[in-house]
């Protein structure tokens, strides 16, 4: 379970708050969607959960299964089960995707006090995962994300998530840059990972993704706060009306 209480975040003390008293709880097994206009703080929220250093947490707490994430390093949070599929995945030249996956998986296992995977065992998992997501084998030999198309990058993020098996998977606009077929494949990949223990936070601008990854809850974020929470029908309502209701409300 992920619990976020009264979270206030800025780049520096005294500057504009990017998150402004945000509350959000995601239960085990829940798929929560966050929608909100550009610049409302969705990516910021995902970065703060994952522990990016650019942000200053002024107040509030983030607990994952009762553990205080704010006291942990980014890699410790990863080992504790936080996974972030980046809106803009980074390139690591010269490091084969396969090599990166192995390093990440083993680092997390080490962080949890588990043994390293044997190479055949690892290879089997990667192959199976890549196949499901339509990632060709020779792409795994290329430098991570180097020269990958937008869609290939997003698929690779999901492959990483499938291997790392987090307790909370945060997907930041994973649907952007995906063609219709890829959207289906990636959604199936995510759905296959849904379980009673694993939760997801799905950030998106479009209802379309939520036809494939059907959320349990939908939250509307505005100016660094959750301003409304509902079921999956809330996304349809947004699709029809846009954010204008909320924006005027908030302004009033």
């Amino acid at each position: 379970m992920l619990e976020i209480r009264n979270l206030h975040v800025a780049i520096e003390e005294g500057t504009k708050k990017l998150l402004n008293g945000l509350n959000l709880t995601i239960r085990d097994g829940e798929v929560a969607a966050i929608m909100g206009p550009n610049g409302s703080g969705k990516s910021t929220l995902s970065y703060v959960i994952a522990g990016k250093e650019d942000y200053k947490v002024l107040d509030g707490e983030i607990l994952l299964d009762g553990k205080n994430l704010l006291e942990m390093e980014p890699d410790e949070r990863a080992a504790a089960g936080v996974f972030l599929a980046f809106q803009y995945p980074l390139e690591i030249p010269g490091v084969a995707t396969m090599t990166f996956l192995k390093a990440a998986l083993n680092a997390q296992r080490k962080g949890r006090g588990e043994d390293e995977l044997t190479t055949p065992d690892f290879m089997r998992r990667v192959k199976a995962g890549a196949e499901k997501l339509g990632i060709p084998q020779d792409m795994l030999k290329r430098g991570l994300n180097v020269g990958f198309s937008g869609g290939e990058k997003k698929r690779t993020e999901i492959l990483q998530m499938a291997l790392l098996k987090p307790s909370i998977g945060i997907l930041d606009e994973t649907d952007s840059g995906l063609d219709i077929d890829a959207l289906k494949i990636v959604s199936e990949g995510v759905n296959a990972l849904r379980s009673a223990k694993r939760s997801f936070l799905v950030i998106t601008h479009y209802q379309r993704l939520l036809n494939y990854i059907v959320p349990d809850t939908v939250h509307i974020m505005l100016k660094g706060k959750i301003v409304r929470t509902g079921g999956k029908e809330l996304a349809l309502e947004l699709e029809a009306n846009g954010y204008s209701d909320y924006v005027t409300n908030a302004a009033a």
């Binding site: 522990g51 990016k52 890699d75 690591i92 030249p93 490091v95 990166f100 680092a107 962080g111 990483q160």
Partner: protein, 489 residues
């Protein structure tokens, strides 16, 4: 590679034994008096029972050296060296002062533990023991010769110390010593000619492919002692050899001088592959101590279709001044230079290569990867020139710098000179930084800041690491990670 592995194992064993028995034997240190003068040159030559011609050669070099000045063009800063404040000869002594691991800085022990060197080996490498015997006798080429003498002899390969070669193969030495790096080439090379103490000699006869990798492990041990090694490798027509060189030095507060000269000669259709993993003591976190490494390495592609390839991984030394070069004399000859130079702390690296195209259709390739962290300065300095007869000379240079942090510097100084209109030189250079975003991305996947840095750096140097023989590549990879420790987070 099996041969190398075997050698390494045997070297380790010998070390351990020396250390164990060292306690009981009490021997004199065999050292020249401190300072540098003609008497010292004579002393060294006499200690090695050298023939008159060798002594004359040394004395001539010494007299010339007296008239020369230290080069000033490199981008390195250091206080003036007092050449009379060093010892120029320290012979192996068997006495080991019974010190324990407790006397050694735990950081160093930790470092070597991470290198995967066994405990007793660790004691030796950390400089607890006056391990001159083990190192000079063992990590030197001698033990390799001992180990594989028969097998090499069968192939007609000579692999021995340069001292032995002077005695046993004077004609070869006379003919080739100083033929690639002339006696007066530069200040440090000339000094080396006068006072060199040991090093390796390799001779590969015509048509022979050396049946194993040859390797030498250099180490500076004695306090205040300069090390001047001299290596000469001769590859006759159609022969091939791959030679590996490794070096380490114990931690000392004062700077120590290392001025080596390495000469390679490749005749028609011969190929020499020379790989170095240089890990001399780089000085402490405040920039105190460390080796001054002034090295002249040059290969002469004397014959047609010959090839010389230098691969270096430079992680150590307070100052590195080193430009392994190729003279492409034979038509269709080829020179290669692959380099990884890592600097951290207060290290200063000024390194690169010279590719001198003299013959027709000569080609050269330069891949240089510089990584700077801490407060270090890392300069690539490379010269590519085509003589007017070097029709169709080709060079490709790729020179990438990676910066870690805000307080280090990377510099690229290429010199291109062509006197033949048909020569084509290509030069690519990039400078990049490990971005915070890349680091965060890796850490989000579970890697620690150091693991993430190491991974990104490994990606950066991959093209060069691939040039190293497997075992060296693994060692080099570890070394690079260790050298960069403390550079992030």
């Amino acid at each position: 590679m099996v041969a190398v592995k075997e050698t390494v194992e045997q070297v380790k064993q010998l070390d351990v034994d020396q250390y164990r028995y060292g306690f009981t034997t009490d021997l004199e240190v065999d050292k020249a008096p401190k300072g540098l003068n003609e008497e010292i040159v004579r002393f060294i030559s006499a200690k090695k029972s050298e023939p008159q011609w060798m002594l004359d050669w040394r004395l001539d070099a010494y007299r010339r050296w007296k008239t020369m000045d230290e080069p000033q063009w490199a981008r390195v800063l250091y206080p003036k060296i007092d050449f009379n404040d060093s010892y120029y000869y320290a012979a192996p002594k068997k006495n080991a002062a019974p010190k324990t691991l407790d006397d050694v800085d735990p950081a160093i022990l930790d470092t070597y533990k991470k290198l995967g060197i066994p405990l007793r080996e660790q004691e030796i490498l950390a400089g607890v023991q006056m391990s001159k015997v083990a190192v000079d006798a063992v990590f030197d080429s001698v033990s390799v010769v001992t180990t594989f003498k028969e097998e090499l002899k069968k192939a007609g390969v000579i692999f021995c110390s340069i001292s032995e070669a002077i005695k046993d193969h004077p004609d070869l030495v006379k003919k080739y010593l100083g033929s690639v790096v002339p006696v007066t080439d530069n200040y440090y090379a000339t000094l080396n000619c006068a006072v060199f103490t040991d090093g390796s000699f390799v001779y590969i006869p015509e048509g022979v492919r050396c049946p194993m990798e040859l390797s030498t492990y250099f180490r500076i041990n004695e306090k205040n002692t300069g090390q001047f090694e001299r290596t000469l490798i001769l590859a006759e027509k159609g022969s091939y050899v791959s030679y590996l060189e490794g070096c380490t030095a114990p931690q000392r507060d004062e700077n120590q001088l290392h001025a080596a000269v390495v000469e390679l000669v490749a005749l028609d259709d011969a190929e020499i592959k020379y790989s170095t993993v240089q890990n001399w003591y780089p000085g402490d976190a405040e920039g105190k101590g460390g080796i001054y490494n002034f090295v002249t390495k040059r290969g002469d592609c004397r014959g047609a279709n010959s090839k010389i390839s230098w691969t270096q991984v430079e992680t150590g030394s307070a100052i590195t001044w080193k430009y392994p070069s190729c003279i492409l004399r034979g038509d269709n000859s080829r020179g290669e230079f692959y380099s990884i130079a890592v600097s951290n702390g207060y290290q200063q690296v000024d390194s690169g290569t010279k590719m001198i195209h003299l013959g027709k259709n000569t080609t050269s390739r330069i891949i240089s990867k510089g990584i700077s962290a801490g407060k270090s300065q890392n300069t690539y300095r490379g010269q590519v020139s085509a003589h007017r007869k070097a029709t169709n000379a080709r060079n490709f240079t790729n020179c990438d710098s990676l910066l870690i942090g805000e307080t280090c510097g990377a510099h690229t100084v290429p010199y291109l000179e062509s006197k033949n209109a048909s020569a084509v030189f290509e030069h690519e250079a990039t400078t990049s930084k490990i971005s915070e975003d890349q680091l965060f991305y890796c850490r989000q996947r579970g890697l620690s800041a150091e693991e993430a840095t190491a991974l990104i750096v490994n990606g950066f140097v991959k093209d060069v690491l691939q040039q190293l023989p497997m075992e060296f590549a693994v060692e080099a990879q570890k070394l690079i990670s260790i050298s960069l420790e403390g550079s992030v987070g």
